[in-house]
Amino acid sequence: MRLPLKSGWLLVLPFLLLVGGLFLGPILNVLWISVTDPAPGFGNYAQLGSSDTLRRILWTTLRVCVICTAFSVILGYSIAYAMVHAAGPAQSRMVGLLLISFWISVLVRTFSWLMLLGRNGVVNSGLEALGIITAPIAFMRNELGVLIGMVHYMVPYAVLPIFAAMQSIDGRVVQASRSLGGSGAQTFWRIYLPLTKPGIVAASLVVFIINLGFYVIPAVLGGGKVLMVAEYISVQVLITLQWGTAAMLAAILLFGVLALMFLMSRFMKLSTVFGGART
């Protein structure tokens, strides 16, 4: 027997309350702090206009996130492409490697990068021993280091949605294109790539949004000079006790992400991107 819609909602109600209480509650609290601490009003938001530092931090965050997203998605696309076209056992090995990399903790990765690419790291000492370079290359403790660390962390996040999108493509459309005289490049650019677009958009969104909140990698690999918004928020909460500024920046991030989702939704159906029902 089918339950009427109403009782269905009743079953979901406890979870809705849980989400409302544990998720919306704190978010509203943060929004509230952003307009009440230290004084009621929009003083915290006005800082965005008056403070060069805040604007620079937001700009650094945006720049690093956009570059990282671009590289992660391009690399992720290539890896997903190779995975989709690999034979069964090879494909499962590739998925396995990808997942292992996915599960390595961010701290371990960060310190591994320092060992590999640091001033006296394996790569620099190797190149020096071979006589290719005379002074160590500054891979780490700068924006390049942050980008390397972040792209490495984000590639698996980019691969998975693109891989899923590629798997659902009917291989016969590619054959059809080739049999009608399309070249390999034409088939890729005009048939394959457009069909994987939902995967690319999903990957970009996921990677970009996760990037916005990055803390450990910029803090360590940036050598203190690449200050992104998450670290700045943490300093304002824990050390300088300017919770109003911190809450305002958190609110900016939240609204930024929501605006991004809204923009995307103008161009495509978001439910397709996130694997919802296709129409």
Partner: protein, 368 residues
């Protein structure tokens, strides 16, 4: 209630015996089963603060063992009250959040004296009871209403002896002189200590540092920005030095000795113009253990506790009697020893308690 406490104590003794290898794993697990406790939580010493214990909030790691052996053991012997730890790091924001939430689970924080100034003013701390705690057993001026300095740490710098064979850097002025001493440096990224170092490099007398001239310090710091990287934790500062990322690096002074030993003297600590920082005990408002925490702080001031903490963590005692009893070989590494005292600067917790936000944000704006 008594039964629960009895079981808790039995279990803790069991856990200690098990960890010391005096009890078999199986017997211990059986004991846990009887008491209805998960062994992991007992082993971790995880328990909510109750009136029957004192919870110290610190940074964990070695610091936990050292505080337990140096202060906890004596305190428990005297009072019967066990010492437990919360190792999540008592930063100002976390203390404020805990007190504001009304759910206070820590009795004493291993924090900075400037935290006592900042959080005391906003009503987040208990005033110390100076009928139990002794004001004379610390450095002059470091016994405040809401906190007292128990140990000193500090900021000093280390240099690579191989990078500078023709003459070693000996002052902050040398540290900031990239022409005379080329190479990458490291500074603490949250302003503290870095600002004082810059001012001393710029010629400010070590006892005329406060109030800090932030703009002047920032100017000096930005001048060597291209040759500087910044650390956020003691282990990061340590790694930057021993991995050869820097030729000169600021460190927490108490860690200098172990880096010298670890690198067989390749990196040397410079105590000239080191900045002594008062590490302080502060009590969050409404702490669960009540007034007993004052006895704990008094125990931490005792000579044996102070000397043990120095041996274990390298933190300099504040009790003058403990300094006097220190072995000759330890004197150079004790920041306020008779030999070091004329060279070092003393931090002003009141200035930092009132100006942390301005100083940290100006510094972050300059280095990022």
């Amino acid at each position: 209630m008594h039964d629960k406490n009895f079981m808790r104590e039995t279990l803790l003794q069991g856990a200690q015996a098990f960890q010391a290898g005096k009890m078999e794993r199986r017997s211990f697990l059986a004991l846990c089963g009887i008491a209805g406790f998960a062994s992991a939580s007992v082993l971790a010493g995880k328990a909510e603060a109750a009136a029957s214990e004192i919870v110290m909030w610190n940074w964990g790691g070695q610091s936990e063992e050292c505080h337990q052996s140096a202060i906890g053991a004596a305190f428990t012997k005297d009072t019967g009250i066990p010492l437990k730890f919360d190792t999540s790091g008592p930063l100002q924001g976390k203390i404020k959040e805990m007190v504001d939430s009304g759910h206070v689970t820590a009795d004493v924080c291993d924090a900075d004296l400037f935290d006592a100034v900042a959080l005391g003013k906003t009503g987040h701390l208990e005033a110390l009871d100076y009928s139990v705690i002794d004001k004379t057993k610390t450095v002059d001026g470091y016994a405040l209403e809401f906190g007292i300095s128990i140990i000193l740490y500090g900021y000093a710098f280390m240099y690579d002896t191989q990078a500078y064979p023709d003459g070693a850097p000996a002052s902050w002025a040398d540290f900031f002189d990239t022409a005379k001493f080329p190479g990458t440096r490291s500074l603490y990224k949250w302003a503290n200590g870095s600002l004082e170092a810059a001012l001393m490099a710029d010629g400010v007398e070590k006892d005329k540092l406060y109030p800090l001239d932030i703009d002047r310090a920032i100017k000096k710091i930005t001048a060597i920005k291209a040759d500087t990287i910044y650390w956020g934790s003691g282990s990061e500062a340590h790694d930057m030095i021993v991995n050869g990322e820097v030729s000169m690096g600021m460190v927490w002074q108490n860690r200098g000795r172990s880096i010298e030993t670890e690198t067989n003297g390749r990196y040397k600590l410079v105590m000239n113009q080191a900045l002594a920082m008062p590490g302080a005990y502060i009590v969050p408002k409404g702490n669960p253990g009540g007034a007993d925490v004052m006895k704990f702080i008094a125990t931490a001031q005792s000579v044996p506790a102070q000397l043990d903490l120095f041996a274990c963590l390298g933190m300099t005692p504040t009790n003058p009697e403990a300094i006097a009893q220190m072995a000759e070989v330890d004197q150079p590494y004790s920041i306020t020893s008779a030999a070091n005292m004329p060279m070092i600067a003393l931090n002003d917790p009141t200035w930092w308690g009132e100006n942390t936000d301005a100083a940290v944000n100006a510094f972050l704006a300059a280095i990022s």
